[in-house]
Symmetry: C2
Subunit: 215 residues, 2 copies
């Protein structure tokens, strides 16, 4: 069990509906030393990639991305979820659905912050069905930049996002993959990443999510 | 002129309507080395304060707060702007108006992340009329915690937020205070903070903003 899995066991809370609450250390209150340890681990896993930019999405990805960026010595761009009046100029826009918030959002990045010279590491806190992530990938590819890898803190391995992204050929590194949770007992089952295989059932109908690049 | 003022002169863009765009290095794309320098400067200015927690508000405050937190060796809590279905339990809520987005938001912090033992440094990227900041202050005070200080990247000195907060007796440290901007020429006038006086006119009717703690 790695440092993040240990922390999830210690401070994570399993709720009904496959909700894993990690808001005491990851996405409401943030343990900066933990974030730093995560950044070092991302750097180790993507050490061979020529990354020159980190892309994340507001809000809870930003802290992880900014601390990780210190290990890569690169700037961070965060995608916005709705159009701000301070965001002008040409923008890349993808429409995505949020599982958590049960709504559609436009994911937006100003075009001048992604160029064909960029070698991008995408970082986010959670991966479930992966719709937001697919929107980010489309935006990077629309710009002519290259997705060098994707770093996730916690992947819900029983949802389809991770499998889809790996099937597409991306190097996806999730520091913890939760294959099952039991709200009654609080038990959390992590995938043994050393075996590098998926042994959980993912229903095909979970694969459907909308993510279309509009610009 | 300090390092942030120099960067604003170099890369900031003045737009009509007293808009200062710093999205190439501060609040869309983020220069992490600059954020680290800002964190060191906040630590210098609040060196005597017994700060054990940093509070910010999504989204653009989070990166600054997380990098600054490394200099203080404390956790970060970020206030959320609208209720998420993953946020349960008792919460502190303040209703505030956003100048930028021309709408009202609820600013929310889970009660268990602010306690009477907390000595809080509030960090944000911009201070204009200060309504969001007043909401954060109310939330901290509702919890029984103490606001030890407020660290802002860029204050619009020609709006009333900074004066109100200082009049209330808080140690407010803005790394750059813009007293005037000219969209036609691109000129930016910074306040000379070494003189520690306000010599700009702020109309009284700017003082009115709504910020009521609901819980």
């Amino acid at each position: 069990m790695n440092f993040l899995e240990e922390r999830i066991i210690k401070d994570g809370v399993v709720k009904e509906g496959n909700v894993l609450k990690v808001d005491s250390f990851l996405n409401h209150q943030m343990d900066i030393k933990l974030l730093d340890e995560m950044g070092a681990e991302f750097k180790r896993r993507f050490a061979k990639k020529p990354i020159n930019k980190i892309l994340t999405i507001e809000s809870s990805g930003i802290g992880i991305a900014c601390v990780a960026a210190q290990h890569f010595d690169v700037p961070v761009v965060f995608a916005k979820k709705s159009q701000s009046i301070n965001l002008d100029g040409d923008m890349y826009v993808a429409e995505v659905e949020s599982f958590t918030h049960k709504c559609r959002n436009h994911v937006i990045v100003a075009q001048r912050f992604l160029t064909p010279e960029d070698r991008v590491l995408i970082i986010d806190d959670f991966l479930a069905n992966g719709c937001a992530l697919q929107g980010l990938i489309q935006i990077v590819q629309s710009s002519g930049a290259i997705v060098e890898g994707i770093g996730i803190a916690i992947e819900k391995g029983f949802q389809s996002g991770g499998r889809i992204i790996r099937n597409l050929g991306f190097q996806l590194e999730s520091l913890a993959i939760v294959d099952g949770m039991d709200a009654a007992t609080g038990h959390i089952q992590f995938r043994d990443q050393s075996k590098m295989q998926e042994n959980v059932f993912v229903s095909e109908d979970e694969n459907i999510c909308r993510s279309s690049t509009l610009d």
